[in-house]
Amino acid sequence: MLALDFAFFTPDVISGYIVKGFIFSLQLTLVAMIGGIVLGTLLALMRLSGKTWLVMPAAAYVNTMRSVPLVMVILWFFLLIPLVIGRPLGAETSALITFTLFEAAYYSEIMRAGIQSVSRGQVAAGYALGMTYRQTMGLIVLPQAFRNMLPVLLTQTIILFQDTSLVYAIGAYDLLKGFEIAGKNFNRPVETYLVAAVLYFIISFSLSMLVRKLQQRIAIVR
């Protein structure tokens, strides 16, 4: 019989080990989400521009990022950038930049589908009113693309939140790391990993539920 003992899990342990990592995981998720969506939207616009000199680099970037395992990108970025800039970057900063760049590839595919979901007629209507490309995209197409894709963008963000645990590869202090250290210090690794799993599950699952609700609401509005 497996003997589990959670007695060591006092509020002090939680505030001492877990909170710091939790905050970083949230920060990483938010930064990579916002930065990834902005960068991804630009990549999507490049790929849909019809101009070869914009399409080619954007397509190459997206396909490369989507073909390499995330954990390798994290490692390589962490190891290579100090060689380029001549000083270490720190695991946390490195993770923030890597995740933004990596997630941009995935968000760009979502935004590309979203932009294509807006009819050509809407673009024509914007132009016919005298709007420029920027105005037509910014005022007419992207708001609709974003609204249409909101559930998918949020689902990708939930996956992103789970993937942030991969920063263990470079030793950044995230939510999982907090549990890992607590487990080592109190010699209770099974319990801490169990609690970590339950916590990841609760957060991810309740967010998925929220997305489902949102999806229904969008379906009604349409």
Binding site: Q122, A124, A125, Y127, A128, L129, G130, T132, L139, V221
Partner: protein, 242 residues
């Protein structure tokens, strides 16, 4: 006002427009008709540069549409266009639909734009719907808003691309009424439509297109009285037989 000179257009090897020439004088109402696929929608979209053409040129109020140096957004800002599928912006209220281009393109203040928008909305009889989103209106109502939106830019001429083709029959007239009123006020209009009643009532000339060419360009009396081409005669007998 609008001069179309020897326009030709290809989609790859397929020629959609062949040497089309015509003009619309200030205050004139021109109806463009013809079977589907005859290039009439393509031609009207060339007028404000929504479709590119490979040969010939179009002049709107003296400005060349084909010249790459022409500021197309500026040209389009005073050429109103109404689409078959309305193309109101679904993420905005009716008020916002009417004011957005006035503010962003013409640089009017939001108050000024809203006032102008409301005046035009009242004119098409939809003032009480200002706060709604396009999805909450019927097709006929949406198309009237689309006309008001185009008018809010104070256009020098109006292009209509099959404005009633996507409407249920009972909604066609409410849109045509607005268009007739506009024509009677002296607006320069180029209208792609199959509504021959509208053509009879307010048009000055009727252009008949077939397979990318302008086959007939005649006064409405001549067009309905004695169309010269056999193709136009066939077309008229088909759509007027009921």
């Amino acid at each position: 006002m609008i001069e179309i000179k020897n326009i030709s257009k290809w989609y790859g090897a397929f020629r959609v427009l062949t040497d089309c020439t015509t003009q619309v004088e200030k205050g004139e109402v021109i109806v463009v008709c013809g079977p589907s696929g005859s290039g009439k929608s393509t031609l009207i979209k060339c007028v404000n540069g929504l479709e590119a053409f490979q040969q010939g040129d179009i002049f709107v109020n003296g400005t060349s549409v084909g010249d790459p140096k022409t500021n197309l957004p500026k040209l389009r800002s005073h050429v109103g266009m109404v689409f078959q599928h309305f193309e109101l912006f679904p993420h905005m209220t009716i008020t916002e639909n009417l004011s957005i281009a006035q503010v962003k393109v013409l640089g009017r203040s939001r108050d000024e734009a809203n006032e102008r928008g409301m005046k035009l909305l009242d004119r098409v009889g939809l003032k009480q719907h200002a706060h709604k989103h396009p999805g909450q209106l019927s097709g006929g109502q949406q198309q009237r808003v689309a006309i008001a939106r185009a008018l809010s830019m104070d256009p020098i001429c109006m292009l209509f691309d099959e404005p009633t083709s996507a409407l249920d029959p009972e909604m066609v007239n409410e849109v045509l009424d607005v268009m007739v009123q506009l024509a009677q006020e002296g607006m320069t209009m180029m209208v792609v439509t199959h509504e021959m009643g509208f053509a009879r009532k307010v048009s000055n000339r009727v252009i008949f297109m077939d397979q990318g060419s302008i086959v007939e360009d005649a006064t409405k009396e001549d067009f309905f009285g004695k169309p010269r081409s056999e193709r136009a005669q066939q077309f008229l007998s088909k759509i007027l037989s009921h």
